[in-house]
Amino acid sequence: MTTDLGQGTGEAANAAPADGAVHLETSDLRVHFPIRGGIRNRVTGHVRAVDGVDLRVTRGETLGLVGESGCGKTTFGSSIVRTHDKMTGGIRYHAADGRVLEVAELSQQELRTYRSEVRMIFQNPHSSLNPRRTLAEIVGEPLKIAEGLSGAALEERVAAMLRRVGLRPEYMRRYPHAFSGGERQRVSIARALVPAPRFVVADEAVSALDVSVRSQILNLLQDLQEEFDLTYLFISHDLSVVEHLCDRVAVMYLGRIVELSPTAQLYAAPRHPYTEALLSAVPKPDPRLRDRGRRIVLTGDVPDPSNPPSGCSFRTRCRYATELCAAEEPPLREVAPGRLSACHHAEELELAGVA
């Protein structure tokens, strides 16, 4: 299958804010997982987890990536930190020393640098920490690898980092089971930030946390961003958290970006029917708004990513779909300054946002 590369990687993808320098960009990034079957274990198809994503992240911004489960947002995030190498297409990263790294072709040495500059915070603090390691080992490991530190120098850095995320350095010899969910997420954050990264992929970093702890961690992430001049790719399914934290938001559906806009504009006036439906489904924490602004109920489920529909992948659930949508795949294009949408009808539709 082909995407309209001319449009996709052309000027349209440049909708990043003009004032910021590009920090990381992907071009036509694809991750296809083979499906094997039959007694000879032959490849019978591919799950197109990520299917042609062009995304530019600007230095210093927080870019939100939202979508339902199975839309490929986590796979996209893990491609960026290269936890697998099943991807095709390019990821270019502008490193601290001014070099532009082609992430797919890094040497061992470069990969080490890359992995200390680009870090990931994982979703579940209960399963992402090794239960047999102490905090000192968990948080210190990236430093050992990246900078070859050991002994007192290592401990000092670990202690400073623990203090910074709100944990007491005296707990360094304890194991993860001794901590609550919120504290463990602080450990995860400490581990991600200890080698002084510049780019952080936060994959559902607050989703497993209780409300009262979640607000603490969100505040911590904002403080750390200012302090260490970080760029965030914030992956989440929680639209209210994303609105709170992010400068721009990319909406993903079935392996592709369908809309990318500055946060306030996306929430006030979405330019893709899927964004509209997602926003209308978010429960509003006020009983007086209960029956206002009717919810758009999406019929059916997300299509099978190994067998996506022809044309626009959202058309099977879209209430505005026309014949054109089945016939032609809509490219992600600039529909207003700084706003991208992959909908044939983005200009005609009047979509409802949230106040």
Partner: protein, 358 residues
């Protein structure tokens, strides 16, 4: 809402205590809970993990797993007899967890759905026969009739092409579809109360919206009461008629949903409402948050269980006195010394002016 504003009490939980005792410690997971579930209405029980909301729900059905045990209190189920005449309420807390009485009530009078629909369904049975089984346990009908009813129920919960889907295995259905199957199974015997324990937490927002619409529609049709357990204030605002806010094994505040959201009395409720990011509010501002974390339930703080995280903590009082439940309005109760406590303070909304401590 078409639900009658005052339903008669269906289930009354009084002074419920469910403790988990091991050799080393006793965890007081539920410690003195009073709740009233009314016919035709939805009670949302909201709280953070470890507050005892699920254990309360499981206690109602005697589904608490050992070493957990109901040590005190009563759970009165008011249900009319088969012929419609009134009969004395049954105390569910006094029934044996393995006895015949409770097994007759489970699924028939009170049904329950869970957070993970995938892991609550049998992997090796077709969904139609799983629903049929729920029917055949409580009524004497043929297999064929059970199958017919199962297909009908799958249609009721909005599963397209129910006759075909009845032959599907759970792994062939999406998470949202599995939750619909669970709901169909729960509805099989037309229960008076449906207990829903975080039924939408594992689902996407769009699916969550579908399931909430479905439950509200079914309630309008059947008049069943719903006890809805969740940690999400947004879901509470959408679903509840009445709200009970739980913290560390006790109900700290309860009342009609509008009052709880627009005139919260307990500092914990207020802090919870403040700490959620609201769509449309100013972006990038720091969120007010509650300091510290929920204490280990095995080491409950003295006095008011919330005192060590409370912004309005009064030394010498909150850490000493366990606040009694105080009725601040009809159907409105709060456990906080700021409200109508021993020295008879008026039950005015306690704002920051109440006490300048700390």
């Amino acid at each position: 809402m078409t639900v009658p504003s005052t339903g008669a009490p269906l289930v009354e939980v009084k002074g419920l205590r469910t403790h988990f005792t091991t050799d080393e410690t006793t965890v007081q997971a539920v410690d003195g809970v009073d709740l009233t579930i009314r016919r035709g209405r939805t009670l949302c029980v909201v709280g953070e993990s470890g507050c005892g909301k699920s254990v309360t729900a499981r206690s109602i059905l005697q589904l608490v797993e050992p070493p957990g045990r109901i040590v005190d209190g009563s759970i009165l189920l008011h249900h009319p007899a088969e012929d419609g005449s009134s009969q004395p309420p049954v105390d569910l807390a006094a029934l044996s967890p393995h006895g015949r009485r409770i097994r007759d009530i489970r699924g028939k009078d009170i049904a329950m759905i869970f957070q993970e629909p995938m892991s609550s369904l049998s992997l090796v049975h077709r969904v139609g026969s799983q629903i049929g089984e729920a029917l055949r346990v409580h009524s004497d009908i043929s297999r064929k009739e059970a199958r017919r009813r199962a297909v009908e129920l799958l249609g009721t919960v909005g599963i397209p092409d129910p006759a075909k889907r009845a032959d599907a295995y759970p792994f062939q259905l999406s998470g949202g579809m599995c939750q619909r199957v669970m709901i169909a199974m729960a509805l099989a015997c037309d229960p008076a109360l449906l207990i829903a324990d975080e039924p939408t937490t594992a689902l996407d927002v769009t699916t969550q919206a579908q399931i909430m619409d479905l439950l509200r529609g079914l309630q309008r049709e059947t008049g069943m009461a719903i006890m809805f357990i969740t940690h999400d204030m947004g879901v509470v605002a959408e679903m509840a008629d009445d709200v009970a806010v739980m913290y560390l094994g006790t109900v700290v505040e309860k009342g009609p949903v509008d009052d709880v959201f627009h005139a919260p009395k307990h500092p914990y409720t207020r802090a919870l409402l403040d700490s959620i990011p609201k769509i449309g509010s100013a972006r990038r501002q720091r969120l007010p948050s509650i300091r510290g974390t929920v204490p280990d339930p095995a080491r409950r703080p003295s006095g008011c269980v919330f005192h060590n995280r409370c912004a309005e903590f009064m030394p010498g009082r909150c850490d000493v006195t366990l606040p009694p439940p105080v009725a601040v309005a009809p159907d409105r109760e709060v456990r906080c010394l700021l409200h109508g406590s021993t020295d008879d303070q008026p039950a005015a909304p306690a704002t920051a002016t109440s006490k300048e401590q700390r």
